[in-house]
């Protein structure tokens, strides 16, 4: 009872990274609350899947194995999750802020009458005193997220409803194995007895999902370009720098919108969050929506021809000037001085 639950997102039988990231965070929250961590796996051919989850400190894996649960459709997954929550009364439930999680979580919250905070960038445990009633609440989940287009950071709480439900984007939390030898137990869900005919009014006729080609999150060095790069052609310079340094290329939303670089490479509030050793921002002004996705980089170099660009405020090194002038010099020095 009152444990921390994470909905595990599956593509076939492959577990989404975001779910493992949430388990990592969920374990910390559960430990702090002195509660257990439980995972929910709905799909088909899931034999042995629990073994991939235990190392994250999962105590209980709830598994519903039924061919009708893959590919995902809203109503059957909603039915099973709500039924489980009804029985298990979670304290906290976390979903990925993916197209799947953002389809399912609102529906679950509507059914259970719980509050939901989308796209949290941070989750913490804390107390609260209601300013009007002076009622005290212990150990609430602080759901922290940017709001109003990123211009403010809001801390949201659900004092009176349970579970406290939040979604978090992929890459925002870190993924870390808690204990490779950790072991929990499996609880089977009898999907057949729970699901109803009317849950299957939506049929998936066709599905094309590609594997992600770029691994921005894992790259130690990210060379990011913004609108200031000026063209798709000019981006080649960034690819060259990334190539010689052994990094990946990323872009701001303005660069993505202008078609200079693919959407998959967008960094920021509505893109990927990265924490590389080195982030080189080229021709990026540094809007909060962008910095939300890179501010935790260990080192930031900003290349901008505007000395007052906001990105300079969070940079360790600023180079003021034209990126077309600067990047070739960096490449040249590197090639001459390393082998």
């Amino acid at each position: 009872m009152n444990n921390v639950f994470v909905y595990i997102e599956l593509e076939g039988t492959e577990i989404a990274d975001v779910s493992l990231e949430l388990l990592t965070k969920g374990k910390k929250l559960a430990t702090q609350l002195n509660k257990k961590l439980e995972a929910i796996c709905l799909g088909s051919k899931l034999d042995g899947i629990e073994k991939e989850l235990y190392p994250y400190g999962v105590d209980v894996v709830h598994i519903a194995d039924d061919s009708r649960l893959t590919p995902y459709t809203t109503l059957p997954h909603n039915r099973i999750v709500c039924d489980l929550f009804e029985k298990e009364k979670p304290e906290i439930a976390l979903f990925g802020a993916t197209s799947l999680g953002r389809d399912l979580a609102p529906r679950v919250c509507s059914t259970t009458g719980s509050g939901l905070t989308a796209d949290c960038t941070s989750l913490e445990i804390g107390d609260h005193t209601d300013p009007k009633t002076k009622k005290e609440y212990k150990d609430l989940l602080y759901q922290i997220r940017p709001a109003f287009g990123g211009n403010i950071i809001a801390t949201i709480i659900n004092p009176d409803t349970r579970p406290q439900i939040a979604t978090v984007r992929e890459g925002v939390m870190k993924k870390e194995i808690a204990d490779a030898t950790y072991s929990g137990k499996v609880k089977k869900i009898d999907a057949k007895s729970i699901l109803k005919e009317e849950d299957f009014v939506i049929q998936v006729i066709e599905r094309q999902i590609e594997k992600s080609k770029v691994n921005l999150k894992g790259a130690p060095i990210v060379v990011a370009g913004g609108y200031g790069v000026g063209s798709k052609d000019n981006f080649k310079l960034l690819y060259e720098l990334a190539h010689v340094l052994g990094g990946e290329v990323a872009g701001s939303r303005a660069a993505v919108d202008a078609g200079y670089v693919e959407h998959e490479r967008q960094v920021g509030q509505t893109g990927v969050t990265v924490r590389p050793k080195l982030y080189i921002a080229c021709g990026i002004s540094g809007a909060v929506q962008h910095t939300a996705g890179m501010a935790e980089s260990a080192m930031v170099i900003a290349i901008n021809n505007d000395q007052d660009a906001p990105i300079n405020a969070i940079a360790d090194y600023t180079i003021t000037g034209d990126l077309n002038d600067i990047i070739p010099k960096m490449i040249k020095y590197y090639k001459l001085n390393t082998k």
């Binding site: 197209s99 509507s110 939901l116 094309q208 600023t318 600067i326």
Partner: protein, 290 residues
């Protein structure tokens, strides 16, 4: 074959163009400094409805919006583009609603408008980016949902086929009607205002707006009833008052902070070989690169 289509639309502050005066010194949002616009993805939803209306004569498209009295503006805007009319849900009791209280209130209005064939909404509103209200209304009305629609491939009186845009691909799904479809910004843009319709609906008003206007609209409404935008207050919806507004909102804002950057110690360089060589040497020496 005509369908009855309802489109959920919201008037939002234009958070994409936030200027310096958008935040007050106490860290709250200065709504007055932000222009109010038709939520962009709701326009995409409206377009999907209008495309169906073009293809299936007899189809009606109506807007439902919850908001302050001035939100009637977006109903008129939709009528200029081809919608037939709309419903404004406005009441002080709705103030402070989070997505759950909003979807509860909207669902009561939708139930009053039953039966209908298709409910459309935007994927998300730019003031919160939550993408919750659509699915939650669907849940409360008791209909299925298809989120992230990029294209309505086909529609018959019984079912609808939709192409959904996902992170790394797409999916085509078929559902029986009635259902909710939330529309993604990758769907076609909304058509612009039609000048004839703009003339026709220029004077469309809600009851409150009529009372405020000093002119004699009453006669006009009698001869041209299509100019009346329906206004519903809490009383018209017969709600459980515990589920409205702030009271009905499980989420509370504990704290709001302005985004401030922590100042870093910065080394400022220029484009000279000397500066760049210095930087690269430092990076290599500190094993950041190389």
């Amino acid at each position: 074959m005509g369908l009855k289509i309802i489109v959920l639309a919201k008037q939002v502050p234009d958070t994409r163009n936030v200027g310096q005066d958008a935040m007050k010194s106490d860290g709250t949002v200065n709504r007055a400094a932000l222009p109010a616009i038709f939520n962009p993805e709701d326009l995409h939803a409206l377009e999907q409805a209008l495309v169906i209306k073009d293809a299936h004569p007899g189809t009606t498209v109506e807007i439902v919006t919850m908001g302050p009295p001035r939100a009637a503006e977006i109903i008129r805007e939709a009528m200029y583009r081809g919608a037939d009319g709309g419903y404004l849900l406005t009441d002080r009791a709705f103030a402070g609603s989070d997505t759950l209280a909003t979807s509860y209130t909207i669902s009561l209005a939708i139930k009053k408008l039953m039966p209908f064939d298709l409910l459309l909404s935007g994927r998300q509103a730019i003031d919160g980016d939550t993408a919750q209200v659509g699915p939650q209304v669907a849940d409360k009305v008791g209909i299925p949902q298809i989120t992230y629609a990029e294209e309505i491939v086909s529609v018959t009186p019984k079912d609808i086929t939709v192409k959904r845009r996902l992170e790394r691909g797409y999916e085509v799904v078929k559902a029986t009607l009635p259902t909710l479809v939330t529309v993604h910004s990758s769907a076609v843009e909304c058509r612009s205002r039609n000048s004839k319709l703009t003339m026709k609906y220029k004077h469309a008003k809600t009851v409150s707006e009529l009372q405020e206007a000093a002119m004699d609209y009453e006669g006009m409404m009698k001869t041209r009833p299509y100019l009346q935008i329906t206004e519903w207050t809490a009383d018209d919806l017969n709600p459980d008052s515990q589920s409205l507004g702030l009271l009905g909102s499980p989420t509370k804002v504990k704290n709001i902070e302005n985004v401030v950057f922590k100042a870093k110690e910065t080394v400022d360089l220029d484009t000279s070989e000397k500066d760049i060589d210095f930087l690269m040497r430092e990076l290599i020496a500190n094993h950041i690169i190389g």
